[in-house]
């Protein structure tokens, strides 16, 4: 049983600590993803495990032997490394480079034997590089070169394979092929693989465990379910992300949503009336701007409903594929009355959601600033025989502002908010400011 143990490793460049107190144990057949943001110490960890960078404290044991006490030839028989950047000096051919992988198995006075040749050929066929074996590596594309380097690592017949961002130069198919190959080697031949991977989704799909680093320390380690949580991603990458399990690949997948706001949230609520996916971009944009967003009425399982759910937007909801009842309409109006601004998306109208339009008119009547996104002409999305069109006109008469495209909204909304703030100052609701109300011009009418 091959094991690799990292125990209390600390690495420094000068006085700067890159890794601190890192400990972990990996067994044969494990495929471990080393994850973390740039500068979190992933590559340093890999370099210290590959004996390129000696740790200042702690030990790295391969089968209970300190790797720094193993001769380089012996270590090369057991551990292969695919580095991040590959210099290939001189114009060696692809097969020359892969043959170099046999070096640790040859004595100083030996030429490559037929056995070496067979191993090299197999490694090149598995990595899909045999067809250009005779071409100089310098003339190959980035992806081809990368696969040649992986073939060289396989030709070493290692027990441990360390990969530093192996997928950087590869296109989608090559990424999947290489990851498939590595996973197969883990599962069938008991290879132990540790790979620095930037793409969390690829890591989630292929690795069977992961280490998440933050500022040189292990933030989380273990199974993917334990490591890849939206909480961890939020803490380490400063990104809000959704983690779900794909029913097709049966693995986790991660959707990054937005950067965490460092600026404080704006104390201004906006209510979005949407449906059928028309509100998705708008809700996301407003949340990104820092507004408190509410939504309704949304039918459950509708695209906008899912978005609201993911973005944790409070919403008034109705059962799937059901018309809006009086009760939900009332709840919607109540939520709307707390908002400073109401946004109506260019949602198609049928008899089922006509009451959303009624609610918007109600809000406009109450003097709540109302925006209507009129991206698609109402004739094309009115399935009520002209009723919706008439009500939209009524909404316009009540002072609603029509915009042609959702992208215009954030600017308008920001201006409106500033105006509202100023109005409050003017009324003395917020003391300390005495700016004039008309200092901000509201455009868009």
């Amino acid at each position: 049983m091959v094991t690799l143990t990292v125990d209390g490793v600390e690495c420094r460049y000068g006085s700067i600590k890159i890794l601190e107190g890192v400990s972990l144990t990996v067994k044969e057949g494990d495929f471990v993803g080393i994850l973390g943001p740039n500068g979190s110490g992933k590559t340093t960890l890999l370099r210290s495990m590959s004996r390129t960078l000696k740790p200042h404290k702690g030990v790295i044991l391969l089968d209970k032997t300190d790797i720094y006490s193993i001769k380089s030839v012996e270590l090369a028989k057991r551990m292969a490394v695919v580095p991040q950047e590959n210099v290939i000096g001189f114009s060696f051919t692809a097969i020359d480079v892969v043959l170099m992988g046999r070096n640790p198995h040859m004595t100083r006075f030996q030429m490559e034997t037929d056995k070496d040749m067979t191993i090299v050929r197999k490694a090149m066929e598995r990595t899909n590089t045999w067809q250009f074996a005779d071409r100089p590596v310098n003339e190959l594309s980035g992806g081809e070169k990368q696969r040649v380097i992986i073939a060289r690592a396989l030709a070493q017949e290692p027990k441990v394979l360390l990969l530093d961002e192996p997928l950087t130069h590869l296109d989608m198919i090559n990424q999947l092929e290489i990851m498939d190959l590595v996973r197969e080697l883990c599962a069938k031949e008991g290879l132990m693989v540790m790979a620095v991977i930037h793409d969390l989704n690829l890591a989630a799909r292929y690795c069977n465990s992961a280490i998440l680093l933050k500022s040189g320390r292990v933030w989380a380690a273990g199974s993917l379910d334990q490591v890849l949580t939206s909480e961890n991603i939020k803490n380490v990458f400063k990104v809000d992300a959704i983690v779900k399990k794909s029913p097709i690949t049966n693995s986790l997948y991660i959707i990054p949503l937005s950067l965490q706001k460092t600026a404080p949230c704006k104390k201004c609520a906006i209510h979005v009336i949407g449906g059928a996916g028309t509100g998705t971009l708008i809700m996301k944009a407003l949340v990104d701007e820092g507004y408190t967003v509410t939504a309704g009425v949304l039918n459950m399982l509708d695209t906008d409903y899912e978005t609201a759910d993911l973005l944790k937007i409070p919403a008034v909801t109705e059962a799937p594929f059901s018309p809006i009842t009086e009760q939900t309409k009332k709840a919607n109006l109540e939520m709307m009355s707390k908002a400073a601004i109401v946004v109506m998306t260019s949602v198609p109208f049928g008899y089922g959601n006509l009451s959303n339009l009624e609610a918007a008119i109600e809000a406009a009547k109450q003097g709540i600033r109302t925006y209507v996104v009129d991206e698609v002409p109402i004739e094309c999305r009115d399935f009520t025989g002209g009723k919706a069109a008439a009500m939209l006109q009524e909404l316009r008469d009540w002072g609603a502002v029509f915009v042609k495209h959702p992208s215009e909204l954030p600017t308008l909304v920001n201006a409106t908010r500033d105006k509202l703030e100023l109005a409050k100052h003017a009324k003395g609701e917020i003391p300390g400011h005495t700016k004039k109300l008309d200092a901000v011009q509201l455009g868009g009418k």
Binding site: K71, G89, F92, I95, D96, N103, D114, M117, N138
Partner: protein, 360 residues
Amino acid sequence: MTTEDVERKYSKRSSKWKLILILLVVALVAVAIGCLDVGYAPIDFPQILSILAKHVPFLNGAVNASSISAVNESIILQIRLPRVLAGAIVGAGLAAAGVMYQGVFRNPMADSYLLGASAGASFGYTLAVIYASSAVLTVIGLGFYQVVAFVGAVLTVFVVYFMSRVGNKVPVTTLLLSGVVVNVFILALQTVFELRSGKALVGIVAWIAGGFSNITWTHIYSVFPFVLVGTIIAYFFTRDLNMLSMGDDTATHLGVNTERVRRILLVISSLITAACVSISGVVGFVGLIIPHMTRLIIGPDHRMLLPTSAIVGAMFLIVCDAVARVATGANELPVGVITALAGTPVFIYLLRRRKTSYSL
């Protein structure tokens, strides 16, 4: 070419390499004998062959000794043969050292004088000429000047090497830069000493330009072991050189003890260069261009590049020296001039012939 052919080609590679090397050695012997015919005294070719055969066991029985004139025998054996051999040894040594330096430094500008061997040797020689002209010391068969030049070369490389040490490692770039800087520094020192001495400097200038006009058998005996043994030892590290060209980290991952290999190869190549410089002066160009030329034809694999470069370097310098002897009548040209004049066009032709860019 189908992939099956590739496999066959690569598994049959070592026998092909052996064949090329044998052919090159035959060519080298032919060139060397041919160049024995170049010189002022007209000695016809059959007589040269008889003189040589007379001194080869098993062949000497077939030679009619009475047909050989004693003067001609002495010209061939005491003057021309040592010169040709010295050309071969120095050419092979400089080219082999050039291959090692280029491999270790992964730099196309590297040549056998990179770490200051030439500057150190010249400076040593200059000091010896200025301050110790009457001293006639003889150590291991070398003249005093040669010993001083050798020591100067070795010392300089030593200084450069230890200047660049960081901890127990010697970073390649630091070493390269220190080499360049020390070269310039020593050259400046040498100029100061030359100008202050007020002596005739023609001898020094001629020595620095390089040549084989005063070669004797003792020179050959004292330098040949360095070149031969050094190149043989270096040969066992040629696979490591291949991997060093991928960068230190990768070489380490492939099982190469990079610091140790580099140290061994630097010591060997520096000793070879110092030995060569001490008998020939600073013959430029060979250590830089011959490895490149050979690489363009043979490919980058050092297992083949090192021996072929050595043989090609030997042939090249023998021919250049032959030209230097007779090119301008009574006054010999420095052989370094010929190497540059003859080598550049050939090298440019090889570079241009390649369709893709050449990278080291």
